[in-house]
């Protein structure tokens, strides 16, 4: 055992001075904890304020006193907000639109990312540049032309118009491509030698390698779909197909905003997204780190 160091062992190597990792001193730990607590507070404070406001009456909500920072045992705003819009319908619509969009976006990103990284064909670079150029055009500029196209395709006021345009994600294609570029080519070549076709190589060899990227992408697309407002607001006109975010606009008007009702509805519409994140947070963070630093070989 002498002279060997097991992976992860804390034993000192002979002849080396003891060095302390930065941030492991008591002061360092305290500083880290304080910074982490402050950052955590900064993120949780708005959610807490929304929840507290949802338990106040309008007059209390406008007080900005210490008392208005403490939740009250008053859930009448929830009852009122729930009856102001067909939330069950909005929930169903939102979940359906989000799931379909995520599935489509994952599929298209996987296929296109694989093609742009692993497959070789003429004009690959130019085509990829063309795909990336879509990111340069702000969506608001295209709103009216997109509306006209949707009108001609008879897609207005349907689920389709909320799913199809987001079923292909340029960011997703880019992300998956970057992951595939870090996968050793020998793996694909070996699979090819074993007689696998491109699709089999993609789904049986490539897919497991880019799972972190797909997870990050899936969550991003899910959040984007869940939070979409302007697009569905303009492209739809019926509550039968509209999502939650559009439903929330019922609390705003040209003369003021019903903040207590809005906060109550924001509270109950945010819960599903929070649950998804909490369930998948480990994978999400792992995926985000992998996406930032590439796949470890």
């Amino acid at each position: 055992m002498t002279g060997t160091t097991l992976p992860g062992s804390t034993r000192r190597l002979p002849g080396r001075r003891a060095t302390r990792r930065p941030g492991t001193s008591t002061t360092g730990r305290v500083v880290r904890l304080v910074v982490a607590a402050l950052v955590g507070l900064a993120f949780i404070a708005p959610l807490y304020w929304v929840f507290v406001t949802s338990t106040l009456n309008t007059s209390q909500a406008y007080s900005f006193s210490w008392a208005s920072l403490v939740p009250h045992p008053n859930f009448s705003n929830y009852d009122r907000a729930w009856h102001m819009a067909p939330w069950e319908r909005f929930f169903t619509n939102t979940i359906f639109i989000a799931v379909c969009t995520v599935v489509l976006a994952l599929l298209t990103s996987l296929l296109a990312g694989f093609a742009f990284s692993v497959m070789r064909f003429r004009g690959r670079g130019a085509l990829f540049g063309l795909v990336l150029s879509v990111m340069m055009v702000p969506q608001s500029v295209l709103l009216i032309p997109d509306y006209i196209i949707a009108q001609h395709l008879h897609l207005l006021n349907t689920y389709w118009i909320q799913i199809l345009p987001f079923g292909a994600s340029v960011f997703g294609i880019f992300l998956v491509r970057q992951f595939f570029l870090n996968v050793p080519k020998e793996l694909f070549e070996a699979a090819e030698l074993d007689g696998c076709g491109p699709l089999r190589i993609l789904f049986w060899v490539g897919l497991p390698m880019v799972r972190p990227a797909l997870l990050v992408l899936g969550l991003n697309v899910l959040m984007g779909s869940w939070n979409a407002f302007l697009w569905p607001y303009v492209m739809t006109s019926s509550n039968a197909v509209r999502p939650i975010e559009v439903g929330l606009s019922v609390f705003s008007s040209t003369n003021g905003t019903d903040y207590t009702g809005l906060c109550a509805s924001v509270s109950f519409t945010t819960i599903p997204v929070l649950v998804v994140f909490l369930l998948l947070q480990k994978q999400f963070i792992t995926g985000a780190f992998s996406a930032a630093g590439g796949v470890r070989g």
Binding site: L107, A150, H154, L156
Partner: protein, 444 residues
């Protein structure tokens, strides 16, 4: 073993993807909103199998007391006209409504009726997508019963009636009665007095008035107040033919007045109805905003103090006020049956009885004085409605030219520069005027 497990997982994943995709396709195909494929919605579904005529009305009465008030109007109309169906398409604000409207008209799919500002009406009229209302029965006789300011507000520069009044309001002054009383200050009746009172009450964490000038794309109440001050100083912000005069002595005086208030700690700028928020939080003494804000201001104040309402103070050139709220326009693409039905609806909504009901429920002002006797009990509890309604006789809207909304954005930026970034008022307005002229020349 491991390979088999991976393979089974992959097959399961693929099956799940395929199944979800199939469900998505099936559901999306079968799930279309009530408007069919028509997002703008109305002209294609003009008449249904039962011989009913359907009209679509895109409006901005989507929230609070406005939504049920609007629905009650439609229910009363449909009860009286069982062969007409009115589909309401509510939007939270005029910005979104206008964006949707422009998209729908560009796609050739406008609604039958929509609420618009006069500058947008001018743009739609020049594109021939809306139609004048002069040819409809009793148009002139009905319009003659409206307040003079409303009558003037319905016409474009060609002298024809292109718009019909709906949710109209003027600006009033809300104030904290307790705060003024404890400071020993009267309710101001002139703008000079307002400045004195505002400075006097701005102590102990109170800033008398908070305003939002808005942005270039969405000028807000602070810009409207500035325009009223220009008018009260003798020169409106635009000439009657829509030319900006933001650098007039009256305009410089108005902005200097606001900047002085800010320097004295009596004025703050914010966003999202800051006057309403500050008044409700007892951090502000005044809110200068539309009479239609009463519902929200009242809820914000609650029982914390008695909220007072008063007519706007006057300036050297007398009283000045601005019409707020959009008018209704009718789209030319609607069928003849829809146009007739839409006119019936518009006429119904402006009868004295319906105006009284609408004003009582929504807080907007009746467009005809004939409605006032029908809402006497409401006027007793809401006395501001009477003086505000009377101001409809002389209040003015911004000139009905397409360029006005764009140049108003330049003005809002000028106000932000002076009030937010400390730029000299005269210099800020000179820049705003130069930018506005560029926009005007570009538009021409």
């Amino acid at each position: 073993m491991s390979n088999n497990t991976t393979r089974r997982r992959s097959v399961k994943l693929l099956t799940a993807v395929a199944a979800l995709g199939l469900v998505g396709v099936t559901a999306a195909c079968g799930s279309t909103g009530s408007g069919g494929s028509s997002g703008g919605g109305g002209t294609k579904a003009g008449s249904n199998g039962g011989g009913k005529t359907t009209i679509t009305f895109m409006e901005a009465m989507s929230s609070g007391a406005l939504k049920p008030a609007m629905q009650a109007q439609v229910a009363a109309f449909e009860k009286k006209n069982p062969n007409i169906v009115v589909n309401l398409e509510p939007y939270a604000d005029y910005g979104t409504l206008t964006a949707k409207l422009k998209a729908a008209t560009s796609a050739g799919d406008p609604p039958t009726l929509a609420q618009v500002y006069s500058s947008d009406a001018a743009a739609f009229a020049s594109s021939k997508v809306i139609m004048p209302l002069d040819s409809f029965p009793n148009e002139a006789s009905t319009a003659s019963t409206f307040y003079k300011g409303i009558q003037n507000d319905l016409k474009l520069s060609d002298g024809k009636t292109w718009m019909w009044p709906f949710a109209k309001s003027t600006v009033i002054m809300y104030y904290n009665t307790a705060m003024l009383k404890s400071a020993g200050q009267p309710v101001p009746t002139t703008w000079d007095q307002f400045a004195t009172v505002a400075k006097a009450v701005s102590t102990k964490g109170v800033t008398a008035i908070s305003i939002d000038p808005g942005s270039s794309s969405a000028p807000a109440g602070g810009t409207a107040w500035f325009e009223i001050l220009c008018q009260a100083n003798g020169t409106p912000a635009w000439t009657a033919d829509g030319k900006p005069q933001f650098d007039s002595p009256a305009a410089v005086k108005a902005l200097t007045y606001l900047v002085d208030l800010k320097k004295a700690g009596a004025l703050a700028i914010g966003s999202n109805y800051p006057g309403q928020i500050a008044l409700g939080a007892q951090k502000g003494a005044f809110d200068i905003s539309s009479v239609a804000s009463y519902y929200y201001n009242s809820a914000a104040v609650g029982k914390k103090f008695v909220m007072g309402t008063a007519a706007l103070p006057t300036g050297p050139s007398g009283p000045a006020n601005q019409l707020a709220g959009g008018n209704v326009v009718m789209f030319a693409k609607a069928s003849k049956a829809q146009q007739d039905a839409a006119w019936k609806f518009l006429s119904f909504m402006t009868t004295p009885a319906q105006q009284a009901a609408w004003s009582t429920a929504s807080g907007y002002l009746p467009v005809t004085s004939q409605a006032l006797p029908l809402m006497s009990s409401f006027l007793k509890s809401h006395p501001y409605q009477k003086f505000a309604a009377e101001s409809l006789e002389w209040a003015q809207d911004t000139p009905p030219y397409a360029s006005v909304s764009e140049t108003q954005g330049d003005l809002a930026l000028g106000l932000q520069a002076a009030l937010g970034n400390g730029k000299d008022p005269a210099a800020a307005l000179k820049t705003a005027q130069a930018n506005a002229m560029k926009h005007m020349n570009g538009a021409q």
